[in-house]
Symmetry: C2
Subunit: 295 residues, 2 copies
């Protein structure tokens, strides 16, 4: 497994593979890899990739001035071992200066999707994400790129920018990877103490509770949201937001009359954790008018 630091090097490797008929899969990460990241590599292969490139780049432009850029966990050696063990072909590990040349001033921005959820809590975050993903796509030139659904809004932003800018890459969303007790895998889980680790279960518990309510026939988003906030607060979390949204526009939904997304961000100690889940109502829209007529 080659570790490449130079932009031109990763492009040359990818082009050579594609010229010889290989399908290049790409998994962009910020490192501190866990089983969720490794599952994205598997997914790239399942989607047809015959070569997989993983980038490790803690992207400064997606962190706010008071966020955890400096503290973000870094472990190139451990990451390399994990990627080598699962047969990744190339790790792209660029410097900040290689990605953002001196005097860089160009950004990729979206007008609407960032005006929701994490975008409101983290001004500029999705501008940084959209920019670095565009740059990485331009360097790696992959056929397929895989992103986790855990960062649901990020996945939507990337799908939208790829469509809008006509980037020649197919985006695949992969299900959130969870620990046995339900906690969504995240590099930021490393910030949690043992007791915080226990509190952090409130995110997935709140989502499961919402799914159960909707399965039971509840349709009112406001009621569900209030319950989720209570559950998280009682567990010692500080809620940033809890929302029930349309899966494409991310606009808030009042009545759950179709599949929607519940999504939340909660501070557990200094760690800001996010999670989300699909809520699928029993029966669909018709049940609103004819309650009880469907199983």
């Amino acid at each position: 497994m080659h570790i490449e630091r130079e932009p031109e090097g990763v492009r040359a490797a990818s082009r050579a593979w594609r010229r010889s008929g290989e399908c290049v899969g790409f998994v962009p990460t910020m490192g501190a890899l866990h089983a969720g990241h490794l599952a994205l590599v598997d997914r790239a292969r399942a989607e047809g990739a015959t070569r997989v490139i993983v980038s490790i780049f803690v992207n400064p432009t997606q962190f706010g001035p008071h966020e955890d850029l400096a503290a973000y966990p870094r472990d190139l050696e451990g990451d390399s071992d994990k990627l080598r063990a699962i047969g990744v072909d190339l790790v792209f590990f660029p410097s900040v200066a290689a990605i953002y040349p001196d005097g860089a001033e160009t950004f990729v921005t979206l007008d609407r999707l960032p005006e929701h959820l994490c975008g409101l809590s983290r001004p500029g975050h999705f501008r940084g994400v959209a920019t670095v993903v565009t740059v990485l796509f331009n360097l790696v030139e992959p056929d397929i790129a895989v992103f986790g659904e855990k960062d649901f809004q990020q996945l939507r932003v990337i799908q939208k920018l790829v469509r809008d800018l006509h980037l020649p890459v197919r985006i695949v969303g992969a299900p959130t990877h969870r620990e046995a007790d339900g906690l969504a895998r995240s590099s930021r889980n490393a910030y949690l103490s043992a007791s915080e680790r226990q509190s952090a279960l409130c995110l997935s518990a709140a989502l499961r509770q919402a799914q159960a309510r909707v399965t039971d026939g509840d349709r009112d988003a406001a009621t569900l949201i209030a319950e989720m906030i209570t559950l998280c607060t009682d567990a010692g979390g500080r809620v940033d937001y809890v929302a029930v949204v349309d899966e494409d526009s991310l606009d808030a939904i009042a009545c759950i009359d179709r599949p929607v997304r519940a999504i939340l961000a909660v501070f557990i100690g200094r760690a800001r954790l996010i999670d989300n889940a699909r809520l699928v109502p029993r029966g669909g829209p018709e049940t609103l008018d004819t309650p009880g007529t469907r199983p």
Copy 2:
């Protein structure tokens, strides 16, 4: 010569050429083609292009709400004849909906270069330019793209975004193409009446005067600018701006102690015309300290 309307069609043609070892040159235009555009095609070939693609797309996002989007001259038939006559391989003539899919909300923006010159007079203009050029590059996937120096700030914006976003294309700037009397070729010259056509000579005349002053040893930008404004106003023009700027940053220059760019925008009737020229001081910076010691 094929006229392609579909994004996937132009990408397929370009990829087929590149796969068989050809070098693809690209000249993006808004149509209403004149000899200046045709010279860009020649330049693409001189730079090594073995196939040339020309796009014709009047890009709505680079026009302000009170600008000349609707009036902008359109002549697909005449344009096609001209491009066929010089052996262009493919014309890409997409619809607005093909470039900007329904709900498009992604833009490429630059933080600093647009805060100068035309960017101040035309808010959002360079956001539209940067976005459409990025989209066109993603579709055409050229090896080389040629832009005229007449739109000097546009050329700098494109060079910067290509560098910052690591787009795999080489940008070539081609000299401004002029009529025999000095008027810079522009599709907007079609707006001019016979007498306005005469007034419009003030732009190139002002630039020539500035060059002559600098050759004579004048260094003070403010004096030159005042003279240029007077010349244009006396000719019946309404000056939008006249500036002397650094050729990379486009920051205003007070003392012309190195090669700089004089650049101006002047309304002649309803036509907003632009032009620019390099000013090269006699001798270079050292002459400031030791006047007369260099030829």
